[in-house]
């Protein structure tokens, strides 16, 4: 009985060798399906990266009507920093605020001529740690700030935050639905292709059953064959996705998403690459299983 797994593998390989066209069709289908899926995942990953880049914009600004003495100011800053949600606190003096404003006005900067830096308030700009860049995180930080009566005037771009969160929700939902749809479509196509390959060999399935092979014994080589085809398809898909990524996607995405230079478009991380190969194996194996169940009713 020990040489059974070897026998199964041998049969799977022999079957593949005996019908190279069908085997190629199954591998090709897996490869194409997974390439599309990989493409989609690539886009989602990069959009997600972009949103995390955007989320750096989520910050809370506390305006100071009067600038306290240096020691008090440092105390306040220290207090704010101790909150786990807070990543950093920067003091922006009136002068700095005025300079920033001037830069933002660009050509119209001369509007500010004759005005004094005193017109703008000094502020504390609080950036949030990445995992707290959400409505809830902001609320917590704001609540903490409001305990200090001198920091009562707090702004945090509420509208922008809500829209950002709605966008993220939509992105996740669309990602999940489209991803599930693509995976399902892939499974459907792959299982149908494998059904064709099995159909071409139904005489063999029938004879196996007639001479006393157990259903598991009949199925295993085909499952194995499906899994091998899936794995090969997965490897091809990975190569295909990488090639497309290098030739087309990298530049295109960079332009579409208008990512600033610091954040570059990335290829699938290793875990995703492994997951893609795993998806190939599962797709092939499961595709065979679905077809086998239909063919082996008798």
């Amino acid at each position: 009985m020990l040489d059974r797994p070897a026998y199964m593998l041998l049969r799977a390989l022999r079957n593949m060798r005996q019908s190279p066209v069908l085997c190629g069709a199954a591998i090709g289908t897996v490869a194409v399906s997974l390439t599309i899926l990989a493409f989609f995942v690539l886009i989602v990953i990069n959009v997600q990266q972009l949103t995390s880049h955007w989320s750096r914009e989520i910050q809370v600004t506390a305006y100071l009507d009067r600038i306290p003495e240096e020691r008090r100011l440092q105390e306040w800053i220290g207090e704010i920093r101790r909150q786990p949600e807070v990543a950093g606190v920067v003091f922006i003096s009136k002068q700095q605020a005025f300079e920033r404003f001037r830069q933002r006005l660009q050509q119209e900067a001369d509007l500010l001529d004759g005005l004094d830096a005193e017109i703008l308030p000094a502020s504390l700009e609080i950036t949030l740690a990445e995992q707290y860049r959400s409505r809830q995180g902001v609320d917590t930080v704001v609540a903490g700030l409001k305990k200090n009566p001198h920091l009562a005037d707090v702004r945090y771009g509420q509208d922008w935050l809500e829209r950002f969160e709605a966008f993220l929700r939509l992105l996740r939902l669309a990602g999940a639905i489209l991803g599930a749809f693509l995976l399902f479509a892939a499974l459907f196509i792959v299982s149908n292709t494998i059904k064709l390959t099995l159909y071409a060999r139904r005489d063999e399935l029938e004879v196996m059953a007639l001479v006393g092979a157990t259903p598991l014994f009949i199925k295993l080589p085909f499952l194995l064959e499906g899994a091998i085809q899936g794995l090969v398809g997965g490897v091809l898909a990975l190569c295909g996705a990488f090639l497309f990524f290098q030739l087309l996607l990298r530049e295109g995405l960079q332009t579409i998403l208008m990512l600033p230079g610091s954040a570059s478009i990335q290829f699938l991380p290793y875990t995703y690459q492994l997951a893609l190969l795993g998806a190939g194996v599962l797709l092939g194996g499961f595709g065979s299983l679905v077809s086998l169940r239909k063919l082996l009713r008798t």
Partner: protein, 220 residues
């Protein structure tokens, strides 16, 4: 030993393919199953090797009730040889591989497979065509390969559905000789045929079906 008790089979609700068949075939018996087309011969054979389940009644083979435990059917078929009118050989495999198939499935050792396959092919007179493919052989030769595949497992029961239906009369007689020999070596043979001439030339017990009912059971 094959026993059937009140076995009925209906594919559709109103029309019974077999009704109320009760039958006993002792060990080493040779039985013809005869009747016109559609009388239920093939259905009865399918019930015997578990390709169909009876709608009612019980079937016992060597004391095992095969109607209850579907999972026993593979084990049952390993001690059974089944031969069809259309041979059911794998055309992409050699004669040797075709005959070796049942033993391969049983996980037999390679040298044992080689020996048994050669013996089985010798029995049917085709040991010199080991490496040929089925479609390179004549119809009679292909049926002999199918019989070798059935005999290679030393079957307790040999079931044949019109095994000579596609063959010339002389070739058919040669094929029948092989069943006679298998029977003499200890296999119970159940052979469906509508060839009256064959039954006359090789007289054995004859069970006649008509419209799904057993209407006659005669032993010469």
């Amino acid at each position: 030993m094959i026993q059937l008790f009140n076995v009925s089979k209906a594919y559709q609700k109103d029309s019974a393919a077999l009704s109320e068949i009760t039958l006993k075939v002792p060990k080493r018996d040779f039985v013809y199953l005869t009747g016109a087309s559609g009388a239920g011969k093939s259905t009865l054979l399918k019930l015997l090797f578990g390709a169909e389940k009876p709608s009612r009644g019980q079937i016992l083979i060597n004391g095992q009730n095969i109607t209850r435990m579907l999972s026993r059917i593979p084990a049952l078929r390993r001690r059974m040889g089944i031969v069809f009118q259309d041979f059911k050989l794998l055309n992409r495999r050699t004669i040797f591989e075709n005959v070796a198939f049942p033993l391969e499935i049983q996980g037999k050792k390679r040298y044992e497979i080689g020996k048994k396959v050669y013996q089985a092919l010798q029995q049917v007179g085709l040991e010199h065509k080991l490496q040929r493919f089925p479609l390179e052989l004549s119809g009679g030769e292909q049926q002999r390969v199918a019989i070798a595949r059935a005999l290679v497992v030393d079957p307790l029961v040999l079931i044949a559905d019109e095994p000579t239906g596609n063959l010339d009369p002389e070739v058919a007689l040669e094929i029948m000789d092989l069943f006679k020999v298998a029977n003499a070596r200890g296999s119970t043979v159940v052979l469906a045929t509508h060839d009256r001439e064959m039954i006359r030339r090789i007289p054995r017990r004859v069970i006649t079906l008509e419209g799904g009912r057993l209407i006659d059971d005669q032993t010469p």
